[in-house]
């Protein structure tokens, strides 16, 4: 059996995007998408640990039913800020702004994103939004819940709603600009031969995500803006005193915020497609079905917001339509899960850390997705809405789904990004710890939710304590598990084993250049003559590992 041939630069260059220029200015004014990805990586990690700290406080408070660790006012701020930080400042930018920023141009053979300056601008906007939000948190915090429901947020809350809203409003533009950049880049900057159906599924997922970013984010921007105006002018369109309808706010809010869930999960699905294909050395089973299911999710995702309003006295018939569409949007996700699983059939599976995350993702996402059906089902949702069942469900999607994909992707591309390997043993160990800790944290919450424990409760009746003790125990394991990668990633940047250009022996474009890549990504604009995940020529049935002839010429 022949070893896989893969690209090594003929003359290994010592110059790459990291050491091409030195000095703080070369980073803060960079237009290189790879450097901007690293800037984002640093900032979202910072916000992730702030959000994690809030999570820790929530779990400590809920250890006992009495509400004795924090005051109720403080607790309300803590869970609100946990949600705002994690959703707007971690999950939404997580994969697109770091891995996506780094890899979208590389995977399609471009030198950079279409608008490098706008890319840098988006990071500064993100940072400004973050600073404004942090200011709001330090000045006194916000206690409306991340959903900002009116009229509590407009009239009754005594916290820093306008400042926080402004932070989210500003941050929204960074998301819009990232999405805009991706769409234009994918349309106009693909390398010769990189047709739409040769693109890796990661790119398809980012294309779908970008569609949601540009269509949804402006709606949340205007909604938050109207809310802030209303709070400042003391009257407004959501105000019952003027005949306004507070439920209108919920419609506008969820019109963005439900698709926003897909902003978080779609890129993660893209990562999982890469991991499953590459670590089993197999082309994705039903490539076009997986690609189009991303687009289907992006489109249908805009039609299901009303399932957050089943118990707001929305019309029964509207409820039925939204319920139907919510079930429909589950189908593309199911298709993806089946295709990933089928890809593994008669493949060659390695147990490297990224693959462990990918396998964990499939299991957890299945649970997260299936429990979503409970909430799409009208009668059961009436009982379950605003209970811990909902909390458990969306954490299965956002942590079990989005975060697992992010961590898996980070491990997978770490050698490309930094030129260093992470410690494999520690990687596998932490993946296992995170998996166990996560399940212990959130599985009990499904039961507590069906028993009727409402969410956002600072103190709760004693019969729910057993579930909360289990959750808190799980959360401490999960928190510990999160620290391990944080430590070894930082460690590996200096002490890790030097990575080869193609440490995993893969055919993707991003592996056909040195690690870390040069500033221009590729020394010569590549010409693509192969399909995505082409480990073996499609027409061959025998096991042959060989890339296209162009590469051998390079």
């Amino acid at each position: 059996m022949r070893p896989i041939e893969y690209y090594e630069p003929p003359v290994p260059s010592k110059v790459n995007y990291i050491n091409a220029q030195y000095g703080l200015k070369s980073w803060l004014l960079t237009k290189d998408h790879k450097r901007i990805a690293l800037l984002y990586l640093g900032s979202i990690t910072f916000f992730f640990f702030i959000g994690g700290l809030y999570a820790l406080m929530i779990r400590l408070e809920l250890l006992t039913p009495q509400g004795d660790f924090l005051q109720s006012a403080t607790y309300n701020k803590v869970f609100t800020q946990h949600g705002i930080i994690m959703i707007f400042f971690f999950l939404i930018p997580s994969i697109p702004a770091t891995l996506g920023n780094f890899l979208v141009p590389m995977m399609i053979g471009a030198k950079d994103l279409a608008f490098p300056r706008i890319n840098l601008l988006s990071w500064y906007i993100y940072l400004l939004g973050g600073v404004v939000t942090i200011y709001a948190l330090l000045a006194g915090g916000v206690d409306t819940g991340w959903t900002f429901y009116t009229p509590f947020s407009t009239t009754f809350s005594n916290s820093y709603v306008v400042a926080t809203g402004l932070g989210i409003f500003i941050n929204g533009f960074s998301s819009i600009l990232t999405g805009l950049n991706f769409i234009v880049t994918i349309h106009t900057m693909r390398a010769p031969g990189m047709t739409w159906f040769r693109m890796p599924l990661f790119i398809w997922a980012h294309y779908a995500t970008s569609l949601i970013m540009i269509l949804g984010t402006p709606v949340i921007a205007i909604t938050i803006l109207l809310l802030a105006f209303e709070r400042i002018s003391r009257v407004g369109i959501f105000d019952p005193a003027l005949g306004g309808d507070p439920i209108l706010f919920q419609h506008l809010f969820w019109f963005y915020s439900h698709p926003a869930v897909y902003i978080m999960i779609l890129p993660s699905m893209g990562v999982i497609s890469e991991l499953i294909a590459n670590f089993s050395r197999k082309n994705i089973f039903g490539y076009s079905f997986v690609a189009f299911s991303s687009l289907a999710i992006a489109v249908f995702g805009f039609l299901v917001w009303g399932h957050h309003l089943f118990v707001t006295s929305q019309s029964v018939y509207a409820g039925m339509i939204f319920s139907f569409l919510s079930f429909a949007v589950a189908i593309p996700s199911a298709i993806k899960v089946f295709n990933w699983t089928a890809t593994l059939y008669k493949s060659s599976i390695s147990y490297d850390t990224p693959m462990l995350y990918a396998l964990g993702f499939i299991g957890l996402f299945t649970i997260g997705g299936m429990t979503g059906l409970f909430l799409a089902s009208l009668a059961v949702d009436v009982h379950l809405s605003d209970t811990y069942f909902v909390v458990a469900h969306f954490h299965y999607i956002m942590v079990g789904g989005a975060l697992m994909g992010y961590l898996g992707g980070l491990h997978y591309w770490w050698p490309k990004i930094t030129g260093r390997m992470y410690p494999e043993g520690w990687g596998r160990f932490s993946a296992l710890v995170i998996f166990v800790g996560f399940n212990l944290t959130f599985l009990p919450q499904f039961v507590a939710g069906y028993l009727g424990m409402p969410r956002r409760y600072h103190a709760y009746p004693p019969e729910f304590q057993v579930f909360n003790v289990l959750s808190t125990a799980g959360a401490s394991i999960l928190g510990f598990g999160m620290l391990i990668p944080a430590i070894y990633f930082v460690w590996s940047m200096r002490y890790g084993k030097h990575a080869e250009s193609n440490p995993w022996h893969l055919p993707g474009l991003e592996w056909r250049t040195q690690s870390p890549p040069p500033t221009e990504n590729f020394e010569v604009t590549p010409i693509v003559t192969w399909e995505a995940y082409e480990f073996a020529p499609a027409e061959e049935t025998q096991i042959v590992g060989k890339f296209g002839p162009e590469l051998e010429q390079i």
Partner: protein, 328 residues
Amino acid sequence: MQSWIPLVPDSASTFSWQVDALYFYLSGVTLFFTLLISAVLIFFVIRYRRRTPYEIPRPIAGSHKLETLWTIIPFVIAMTMFGWGARVYFEQYKSPTNAIEVYVVGKQWMWKLQHATGQREINQLHVPVGRKIKLIMTSEDVIHDFFVPAFRTKMDVVPGKYTTLWFEATTPGTYRLFCAEYCGMNHSGMIGSIIVMEPREFDNWLSGNTGNTTPAAAGQQLYQTLGCASCHGANGEGGRGPTLAGVFGKTTQLQTGESVPVNEAYIRESILNPQAKIVAGFGPIMPTFQGQISEDQLVQLVAFIKSLPAGGQTQPAAPAASPTPNAK
């Protein structure tokens, strides 16, 4: 409480078994697919593990037959879930005829209920078994949500509009009432109970009867059940409302600047007409209890407030905006 961990809450309404049945169906399907996917994954991962470092498996393009199969099967299953859920939902939110009407007003952070026959309750609702009860609900301030897990039903309570909810209790007992829509500081304290009674007991309750405990003890009971504690503190130490402990027999400063002696008459007036003489530094936020408590109960409350030791602050210095420790 049971010694074992329950999987479903108490079942006490006609909806309970319907929702439970659907829930079990959904759980069954979820369990089946989760186990199926996991089993297949584990089997593949072991069976097709990488045996030699350079092996390349044979590529497989995909199969339209399989794709069609695993599009249609989930869709059909999803449609059964949709149809079943919609049917029960339609039942839940279809307004019943011949229902006993109860008016519900939510406010931060208590439930105020009034029976059609005039009885008022706070954070409690007495209902008979076997009758349809229809709640007509609105909110004085923010959005609340009337949630009774044992009845498997809930509905938002929205300011500026009436929403309705109905149920028919099947089993006598006391069940929890939660506010399920986050409504501010004491959201988790906005809980109460639904007391389901046999029809004859309910009639007795409607005609009114009280126990025979001491006035102060009965007053303390009332103080808790009427929700006084959520603003005045569990022991009258004050909070959103003025301090009650130890003020009896002293004078207090009003918003208008004048001072009044705190005596039986003042306490009674403040309970029945709270806006009349507001203590300096507080807002006009207290609801009236006029018509909700009898003269007897007023006496009991006064007796309780008189009995409070001057342990806490002696004057209401806390401004209304400052956060109150949770009274629980």
